[in-house]
């Protein structure tokens, strides 16, 4: 549940979701669920020239399994907290 919690703290922040098909969407993270499905608001395509059909997209739901990367701002995360939480998760699994 680590990344679910991380993304909950990022709700309202701007992210870029890159999907496995190469499509990149810049938007405001509206919500996330346990499968890391995401809903983005105020979407703007990053590669508008390659994917003109996305020009009219405003809000969307993205299935977690199609995501490759989500780009974040360094200022939106606390790396020390992340590392600590990861160590705890790793020890819980033991």
């Amino acid at each position: 549940m680590l990344f679910f919690s991380v993304f909950k703290t990022l709700e309202g922040k701007e992210v870029v979701v890159e999907m496995k098909n190469g499509v990149e969407l810049l938007g405001e993270l509206h919500s996330v669920d346990q499968y890391l499905n995401v809903k983005l608001n105020n979407v703007r395509p990053v590669n508008a020239d390659r994917f003109p059909q996305l020009a009219s997209l405003r809000n969307c739901f993205i299935r977690g399994s199609v995501v490759r990367y989500i780009s974040l701002s360094k200022s939106d995360v606390d790396v020390a907290l992340l590392q600590d939480a990861s160590r705890r998760e790793a020890m819980k699994a033991n």
Binding site: G64, R68, L72, A85, S86, R87, E89, M91, N94
Partner: protein, 95 residues
């Protein structure tokens, strides 16, 4: 305390995923599906190998007109979904 947590992490390498924990806050090399490689600082991971990397350089190898080219991109903070990960390792010595 943080030092105790770190010590216990070092001592408790039971599963392959525990090796990944040893690389927290270190530079790692990640080979991904789609002929991609990432180099970044490991800040977070889980049992699916979902990760958050900082100061990332992505290298993409592509075939364009029969020639293999390398493309690089940089991201300051990147979530990587675990199902694209092939391997995680400390950076290769030559880098």
């Amino acid at each position: 305390s943080l030092a105790e947590l770190r010590e216990r992490a070092m001592a408790a390498v039971k599963q392959p995923v525990d090796l990944v924990a040893l690389s927290l806050d270190e530079r790692v090399f990640v080979k991904c599906r789609g002929d991609r490689e990432l180099r970044g600082t490991l800040h977070a991971f889980d049992q699916h190998l979902n990760m958050i990397l900082g100061d990332v350089e992505e290298t993409i190898r592509e075939e364009v007109d029969g020639k293999t080219t390398e493309r690089k991109r940089e991201k300051e903070m990147l979530f990587v979904r675990g199902d694209v990960v092939i391997l995680i390792s400390p950076p290769v010595a030559t880098q």
